[in-house]
Symmetry: C2
């Protein structure tokens, strides 16, 4: 997501200098080779000291660690925004860790894929996408960042951090838990090819471990609620099957059919 943003910014705003931070020389070389950034350094202070905007594109807990690391170096008026997938924890930490002279703006672009790494970055990733912003729509920093997303072709939706986390638990975090579970219990047989439906259900189980462990843990309460709800639904299905309740099973599926249409079109 960060790599795609760098590409999109360089394309849309050729006058802007995009600087990247990479700890080890291999990542630095990769960023340079791919032409993602104008300059790249392993010196964090050097990268952010003069920045007007700082983008934190990292796993959730690492985002908050980096807030601490850059807090002393940022210039006054700097706009810091993140691309993290949970928002309550990040906002609470931004308040504690970033100085008041900078503006923190929470962003969560709803795009990206299960593939992570600069080599999968795409200049057009944000075109036609939706970005959720979780800071007050009225602050000047929010307006600046919103304008950037719009210029990159994304639509912005405002939600409070709590509403964001509640919604994303159901729409994204629970589906990821389910996908990891399904992959974990699928027999790796080669008797026949895996059906398309199974491949679709397990595609996101290729998502990166650290990123998703930190999403699950930083949205624990909502996610555990959703897992419980899903489990109740599963138990209900198992009961109907075990008791041979054909008519009720049919009704249950029919109800899912009508909700299915809303999800596929929405």
């Amino acid at each position: 997501m960060g790599g795609s943003l760098a590409r999109a910014l360089k394309k849309k705003f050729p006058g802007v200098t995009v600087a990247g931070f990479a700890r080890n020389s291999r990542s630095r070389q990769k960023l340079q080779r791919l032409g993602l950034v104008d300059k790249v350094s392993s010196d964090l202070e050097e990268v952010v000291r003069e920045a007007d905007y700082v983008v934190l594109s990292l796993p959730v807990y690492v985002i908050t660690e980096y807030m601490q690391k850059i807090s002393k170096v940022l210039k006054a008026g700097c706009v810091v925004f993140d691309l993290g997938s949970t928002k309550q924890y990040i906002h609470s930490q931004a308040k504690r860790r970033l100085p008041r002279k900078v503006k923190f703006i929470g962003c969560h672009p709803l795009c990206g894929s299960e593939k992570s790494g600069a080599e999968f970055s795409r200049e057009d990733l944000y075109r036609g996408s939706v970005c959720i912003m979780t800071s007050s729509p009225r602050s000047s920093g929010t307006r600046q960042v919103k304008k950037m997303w719009n210029q990159l072709g994304a639509t912005v939706v405002f939600l409070t951090p709590a509403k964001h986390d509640r919604l994303l638990s159901s729409l994204s975090h629970l589906p990821h838990v389910i996908s990891f579970c399904l992959t974990s219990c699928t027999p790796l047989t080669y008797a026949v090819q895996f059906p398309k439906s199974l491949k679709e259900l397990t595609r996101i189980s290729g998502s990166p471990p650290q990123v998703w462990a930190e999403i699950f843990l930083s949205n624990k309460n909502f996610l555990l609620q959703d897992i419980r709800k899903f489990r109740e639904e599963l138990d209900r299905a198992a009961q109907l099957i075990s008791r041979g309740r054909q008519e009720e099973l049919g009704k249950w599926i029919r109800k899912a059919n009508s909700r299915h249409a809303a999800i596929q079109q929405g």
Copy 2:
């Protein structure tokens, strides 16, 4: 699936007469309008009396009902095959319900989609697909039907009915239960668009109620085993999340990642 088979047969074997059975006039008109069959009738005996091959493309329990209905009319040497998604029950009923003068061959083409109905039929559905056959590979009826699948571009894999049902429970029936459950507990909000991953996980929850209720019930024992296994995995995930076990969660996801690769490529 039946409609696509009719289309494929008419295309590949222009000399063959394909006759369709449809109970009500609306379905008859649809089959005629779509040009799926050479003739269509609501008189079951008329449709099957002279048939060399009879294809039963219906929900599992309905397949076995129709075995009973046609058993008195079929001519000697007729090859009856089905396209049903569970096989133990169908084979057991074929033994009881069909006369010994006809050959019953169990088939399960692994294609099709969540959309049912003649209007979604495709002449090329079977090209490049896999068809599982669950009758003895050595019988003459099996060889004839296998040849037909091969001529339509499908690869045939032989499994016993029990192995078929065991495997399909994990690869297809459990994923469908999960997809219905997920759709049932997804909030139908329009705050943001539904993520691609959620759409993928819920696509098959648009599958037809009767077909799937009958699949679940006719494969009850294996399916309940698989639901239990999935539930244990889900409980394990919930426990790791609830206890904040970041490292173990990461390991669990990493393990899923490696299995994911095998599924996506297999």
